[in-house]
Subunit: 366 residues, 2 copies
Amino acid sequence: MNYETPLFFQVMAYADAADRDVIDMVSGTPDWEPPAALRSGLREYADLESDRFQYPPSDGLRELREEIAARRGVDADQVVVTNGAGEANYLAMARALERERGREFLLTDPVYPYYPGKATMLGGTHSSVATDDEGRLRPEDVRAAASAETAAIVVTTPNNPTGAVYPAETMRELVAVAEEYDAVLISDEVYDHYDLSGRFASALETDSTHRIVTNAFSKSMAITGVRVGYAIFPPELVANARSRHMLVTVATTRPGQYAVLQALRETGPEYYERNRELLRDRVDTFTDALDAAGAEYTTPSGSFYVMARFDGYPGTLETVERLIDEAGVAGMPGEAFGDSRTDWLRFALVSPRVEEAAERLATYFD
Amino acid sequence: MNYETPLFFQVMAYADAADRDVIDMVSGTPDWEPPAALRSGLREYADLESDRFQYPPSDGLRELREEIAARRGVDADQVVVTNGAGEANYLAMARALERERGREFLLTDPVYPYYPGKATMLGGTHSSVATDDEGRLRPEDVRAAASAETAAIVVTTPNNPTGAVYPAETMRELVAVAEEYDAVLISDEVYDHYDLSGRFASALETDSTHRIVTNAFSKSMAITGVRVGYAIFPPELVANARSRHMLVTVATTRPGQYAVLQALRETGPEYYERNRELLRDRVDTFTDALDAAGAEYTTPSGSFYVMARFDGYPGTLETVERLIDEAGVAGMPGEAFGDSRTDWLRFALVSPRVEEAAERLATYFD
């Protein structure tokens, strides 16, 4: 087995080595503040008795699991606290394969590149269902692609990289397709707090033994480095996932779990609303500049990303490097996300310099 | 695939539910203080700029990898910082299988039960080489058990549960056996700071492309819940392990990495010596009581554990529950560690009440 270093790291390295000032719109790491209670939770933890520095329960601190369960309307026993959404997706995909109802993962195109990587690592195969130019996924296309070989359908909503938010009907239909083919829908909802459309629908809204929901506090609390996420399994599927979690990581970091629990309890809706407002402003600023640059683009309904297409600038690493050198703005090539966006570039709105980046692009393409 | 909940958890649950005061000598979680700099490192982290709350490099903070590499005499590029030794062993075992030079793991008996669990989860097989009553492993026995099917030999030194410390010659020979059979020696050295004998020898002392060393700060810094460990790979094997790490957990918790780095830099040898002294005292106290109780036992050369055998009390869950109820002391049944210690019990010396536990056992068996 061999895995490639994600293109992501190559772009970051190129931007870092550039001879000029470059505005980083490459990765999905928020540049806003974590909740104050997250910081105070960590501070508090540092002074706890030494026994609180020892293993938490493998599946997570009980209070954290209960807090998550209450918010998501599930039983605490269905929740496994993980090392971020990364581990949550890994556990979910492994669990789907362990059902031994097929070895193929149905992904979307464009796709978050870690999914095909995980599928291959787990010894599964993968194929893709194309979304439309706005990132909409048609459940009938998923149904047409599904077969007895389908182990799981893996989707992200709000979507990275398209910014699409799948409506409730789509989510219901995706669960139905999973049921029809005795597969599992894995719904990665890590951007749920960045739904800018008000139309986000969790897969949890459709009760089923055929869907797993993954999430994390990495994006919602702007703490991608703390590594606390979770997966919610149907009761029938949770035991094996819990065992794998125990055998792979034993447990997720306890200071992080403690701080996230404090932050969940003490952070009001205004924190999340403020971050959404910030994103809305950035979307406006950036897409205005894209208009000025004569580019085609998608206005995200959620998540952090704007996809843009500039005539004569294909979505390749070469173009990205050229824009780093010539415009001083670093994005991601669309080719990193599958076959359908090879003409596009992705820009992450996670820099305080989005306005400046927009100006640079508008000037460059003028 | 199905995994059982480790017996460990059953024993803990039974002890928790007992109607009387029970001294917990079940798990390997230190009851002593983490280094002061670990606490101050966490406190400091809580006040860093928000960009420091975002993803660290997937394979670990550069300064931490360099600090580890300098201490272990390897190149920083060989180090992958992991979610504890649990993930380090998982990555090492997965990497051994990926070489496609056999699918069998050669383990020892007694064995740390997570190893056979990981072997099965990874789709490998496992067989065992018995150690003697003192826990000594004879490399010629390992050689006799090895074959073209051997993917890896997995050992722990200082050992859990036997307390044995393998001498330098054993480690050299184990590496030689791995080389002869084109396998990998995986040496889990998580108890290296609890070598009470002065004879500990790391597998790193034998230069080879056929050995992987795993470790963590969980035991050495008394922080099993923080989840920072590492694996050191030969340069030839590190790339795939790094990719798997990225695909499974993305990265290990950054506050934990930051705090461990501070603690590594600022904690002098007296911290570790003090903890070893504490353990030495506890070994003396506990084995004196075992003498008084007429029990057979092993005096550990390292790690936290004393194995004991009481006539008429086999090393079963039943016996452990009986001792919880009747003596008020909770240990682990020897049967949890393989076939060779089914007459034995394991007691972890990680309670401030070791003396009281010793008295209880001496009285009970009087």
